[in-house]
């Protein structure tokens, strides 16, 4: 087994025992990227010299027996909507093709403090808007299990990087399922933390009240490790909660005295592929076999989740993306006449079709005369969706269902049908609307060999419980050990 196929925990052990240097680890991953990125397009930017230098510094400090952070020497890939100082941060958009932020995002600072190696910037749907990675201005990342298929989105590049063993860990962002859905479609673990668990400072905003940065990894332990490194209070984000961060990885294998798992009726409804349903139902039996109480619950307002999401997220996006106007940074058209024309041309040239569609949707939803009927109504429905979950969590520890209604679809299959595309997030978006934490873990494969993801949701700030429940399943199965075989 090649070193790049190891989990982050295994690599950390080897690094810690001195069996391998950080430089050798970085070199292995850089070679893997060199071999496969042309096909998979997982990374948009890799600065080899910078990466090797980071690794050598860790090695030097380890040789001198200096104290090192918990992720010392471990490469982590970063979604390209997360600011890295002096490095390109394009958000998968042409409008930021030449943008290099003068500062690191909070999560990047935390990774540096943990002595992780920042491996490069991963491909994503433009401004995190999309479910297939096809909205990237730089071409879509491809699913390593079948490169003719989409990897999911918007954190598609991060999912591909981990799944294809180009990185042991990656950060994604999840506004409506953008960590969990590509994790499911690529056969890895992806966690969306509770809203406020991780600072958004330095993360290019899409839907500010929904966005969270989340870890992506081969298994639950790795996911816990990375979450531990990035979670916690940051005074620069007013929505970031000041709540202690548990040592998630430590208690993973603790058994449950009792465990009640809820199955939302609405998550097993029309539109769910039978292969996915079978795999998820099989997972339920695994839990039952471990003594869990299984209970059917109802989330009656979840049928409005998609509509609510596409009003709230787009309304916020229409305002968040107003700053990309060519005046102060980013792309500016060269042939404009006057200020308004500069705005129109710079944005018209810089943004892709889906970004324009969502900015227009959001602008409309906030416009006078429509605001009450759309935006304000959506806020009310959002509250009802949250109430549904509160009731469910009063009697269940976690909720269980599929992450995505289908396995990975083919590139180009849904690009002309935005509504079909939006349905890819039908099971994940309500978790964002309610501020919950959620995780997707591998739970099987389709007949065509494509991964299937199991979604678990827990109440806000219950990440520790969520990870333990996920780990319980993982211990009983071996889906997470599989790696795609790719031409090298």
């Amino acid at each position: 087994m090649s070193r790049t196929q190891l989990t982050a925990s295994q690599l950390l052990d080897q690094l810690h025992r001195g069996e391998v240097t950080a430089e050798a680890v970085a070199d292995d991953f850089l070679r893997a990227i060199g071999d496969r990125n042309t096909l998979l397009q997982a990374f948009l930017h890799v600065d080899e010299d910078d990466i090797l230098q980071q690794a050598r510094q860790v090695d030097t400090r380890r040789r001198r027996s200096e104290p090192l952070g918990p992720l010392a020497g471990l490469p982590v890939a970063i979604k390209d909507v997360i600011c890295t100082k002096g490095q390109p941060t394009t958000a998968g958009s042409k409008i930021l093709a030449n943008f290099r932020p003068p500062y690191d995002a909070h999560v990047v600072e935390r990774l540096r403090a943990a002595d992780a190696i920042l491996l490069g910037k991963t491909n994503c749907d433009e401004f995190a808007m999309g479910s297939s990675n096809e909205n990237s201005a730089y071409g879509p990342a491809r699913n390593p299990w079948d490169p003719s298929r989409i990897p999911g989105g918007s954190s598609g590049g991060s999912a591909v990087a981990v799944a294809a063993c180009l990185a042991p860990l990656a950060l994604g962002t999840d506004t409506g399922g953008s960590v969990r859905q590509p994790a499911a479609l690529c056969g890895i673990v992806g966690l969306k933390p509770s809203y406020g668990r991780v600072s958004r400072y330095g993360v290019l905003a899409y839907g500010s009240s929904l966005d969270q940065v989340g870890p992506m990894s081969h298994d639950v332990r790795d996911c816990a490790l990375l979450l531990e490194a990035i979670a916690g209070h940051d005074p620069r984000d007013a929505t970031c909660v000041d709540h202690p961060v548990p040592r998630y990885a430590q208690r993973l294998d603790e058994p449950f005295a009792s465990l009640t798992i809820g199955l939302p009726r609405e998550f097993f409804a029309e539109g769910l592929s039978s292969e996915v349903e079978q795999a998820v139902r099989a997972a339920v039996e695994v839990y039952r076999g471990h003594g869990a109480t299984i209970r059917e619950v109802s989330l009656p307002h979840s049928k409005y989740a998609l509509a609510t999401y596409y009003l709230v997220a787009t309304a916020e996006a229409s305002s968040n993306l107003a700053r990309y106007d060519g005046a102060h940074f980013g792309h500016r058209s060269t042939d404009h006449r006057g200020l308004i024309d500069m705005y129109c041309k710079s944005r018209g040239q810089g943004f892709g079709a889906e970004v324009k569609r969502r900015v227009m949707l959001g602008t409309y939803a906030l416009s006078s005369g429509y605001r009450d009927a759309y935006y304000l109504k959506a806020l009310k429905v959002r509250r009802l969706i949250r109430d549904d979950f509160d009731r469910a969590f009063a009697e269940c520890d976690v909720l269980l269902g599929p992450t995505s209604p289908t396995v990975a679809f083919s590139l180009g299959e849904r690009v002309s049908d935005p509504l079909a595309m939006y349905l890819a997030d039908i099971y994940t978006i309500s978790g964002n609307l309610a501020g919950l934490c959620g995780i997707s873990i591998p739970c099987g494969f389709s007949a065509s060999g494509l991964p299937i993801g199991l979604q678990l949701l827990a109440a806000p700030l219950e990440e520790e419980k969520l990870l333990r429940v996920a780990r319980l399943y993982e211990r009983a199965t071996d889906w997470h050990l599989r790696r795609p075989s790719l031409p090298s």
């Binding site: 941060t89 932020p101 003068p102 958004r200 929505t239 229409s318 990309y324 906030l366």
Partner: protein, 492 residues
């Protein structure tokens, strides 16, 4: 009966820049006049991924102002985004307060020639300032520049009801607002530096002949009036302009013609039409998801209330009743600031003559401060000593020049009043016999004045009095000399 051709209706929108060390949503400084774009950071530059965090101090200054303006305070408020594109606003939205302003339904009292008038305040809310555009004004089509130092500076917007009914009242309101905001430490209100800005909404009501009711002209908003004088001039000009326009065009009426904005051209002394607001701009307000709501609990509110001190309107009333001062004297004193009022109160307490204390403070003390520079705290002459000087002047009947000399001596040599009088060798003759001698000598030396007096020219007595005073270098009490002189002349 009112014979005016029209009545003026004015409402003011005032923006005051809060006296915070840092901006409303980031840690950048707020010093005026720094090198362009030197006081900026990713947050106020609106760089991707940056997030705002509320400056609590700014919110507290806003609360202080709202309480002083007698507003009801929103116990739950939030921040909203006002969306519009302009290069001085790098995020292309302004963080403001839309439907839940921190203060609403208050008032400010102004002192008009007809007495105290209460002007309603509709609302006051906090918002971030925009930057400054520097356009190429030579018309050579060069690029415009933008300075973002001011971007994100905290502003308090205070909107009055349209209850100001003359140009003078508009000016008085703005003056009173400035006094209040300065007294509270909310803002330095430097109009030249833009820390106090004012827009005036003006229209007129034209009474019609018997049974014809009242007509109203469309509202014109005069933007960015940056002095009290310009405000007064602009309102007066605009009101008359509207009247004349209505005379030419009877269709120029509120509801028929939409609201317009205008600027004030100080060179020509005219308002200059800018644009008509056909429909309200759609700012697509919505709650800023990056900021959390602000909850104002009782403890917080009480603490702010405790910091307020005596408000100018209360102080104005108290100074009038407690010391029997005229409105004019109170106005002058208060315009000199809270420190001067305190100095006055101490002086008056010591000398027990408020009127004399006001006169000394507004004349000699102000002249001294003007000469020396600095403020009252640095003046070597304490209120206690000034009070003693005034008391002594009265007790000894010192004339103005002598008292001034004592004042100067006290000031320059840091002396108590007794020591200064001693040092100046002022001997005050209080012995009436000695005065009688002096008066008789003067009568003997000035037969012509005596003769004149006897012919009925009583003013001639002043010649005699002057002679006595000169001879004694003012060390006798003028009232004693007068009394003795009268007695001696009558007798002779």
């Amino acid at each position: 009966m009112n014979t005016q051709k029209y009545h003026i209706v004015v409402g003011l929108e005032v923006h005051v820049q809060l006296l915070t060390r840092t901006k409303l949503f980031c840690g950048c400084g707020t010093v005026f006049g720094a090198a362009p774009n030197s006081q900026t950071c990713p947050v106020c530059l609106g760089l991707p991924g940056s997030l705002p965090v509320m400056n609590r101090r700014a919110f507290e200054l806003g609360l202080r102002a709202a309480l002083a303006l007698n507003c009801s305070i929103a116990r739950f408020t939030k921040w909203d985004r006002k969306n519009y594109y302009y290069p001085d606003l790098p995020k292309n939205y302004q963080i403001s307060q839309y439907d839940l302003p921190l203060g609403s339904e208050g008032w400010l009292e102004i002192n008009t020639s007809q007495g105290i008038k209460r002007i309603g305040i509709i609302r006051c809310h906090l918002e971030e300032d925009a930057g400054k555009m520097l356009h190429d004004e030579r018309g050579t089509g060069r690029d415009s520049l933008v300075d973002l130092n001011r971007t994100g500076t905290p502003l308090l917007e205070i909107v009055s009801k349209p209850e100001l009914s003359s140009p003078e009242e508009a000016r008085l309101y703005l003056e009173e607002m400035r006094l209040l905001m300065r007294e509270l430490g909310v803002s330095d209100c430097e109009m030249q530096e833009g820390s106090l800005r004012c827009d005036a909404n003006v229209n007129i009501r034209i009474p019609q002949a018997e049974g014809g009711g009242v007509l109203a002209t469309p509202i014109v908003e005069i933007k960015n009036l940056n002095s009290f004088r310009f405000l007064e001039q602009a309102v007066r000009y605009e009101a008359q302009r509207q009247y004349e326009q209505w005379q030419k065009d009877p269709g120029y009426l509120l509801g028929k013609v939409s609201k317009a904005t205008a600027g004030w051209d100080e060179a020509s002394g005219r308002t200059v039409f800018q644009r008509r607001k056909e429909e309200a701009a759609d700012y697509r307000y919505f709650p800023d998801p990056d900021l959390i709501p602000v909850i104002v609990d009782d403890a917080w509110l009480e603490r702010i209330r405790g910091e307020l001190g005596e408000l100018p309107s209360a102080m104005r009333k108290r100074l009038g009743t407690q010391y029997g001062l005229s409105e004019y004297d109170v106005g002058v004193l208060m315009s000199l600031g809270r420190q001067t009022v305190a100095y006055f109160e101490e002086t008056a307490r010591v000398c027990q003559d408020a009127k004399a204390a006001v006169n000394w403070i507004t004349n000699q003390v102000q002249a001294t401060l003007k000469d020396r520079g600095g403020d009252l705290a640095e003046l070597p002459l304490s209120a206690q000593r000034l009070g003693e000087l005034i008391a002594k002047q009265k007790e000894l009947g010192l004339n103005k020049q002598t008292a001034q000399a004592v004042y100067d001596k006290m000031l320059h040599e840091d002396l108590e009043v007794a020591a200064a009088i001693e040092a100046l060798q002022i001997r005050v003759v209080t012995d009436t016999n000695a005065v009688v001698e002096l008066v008789r000598a003067a009568i003997a030396a000035n037969p012509k004045a005596v003769a004149d007096y006897k012919k009925g020219k009583t003013a001639a007595a002043n010649v005699l009095k002057g002679a006595v005073m000169r001879q004694t270098k003012g060390s006798v009490r003028a009232d004693v000399v007068e009394a003795v002189l009268k007695e001696e002349l009558e007798r002779g």
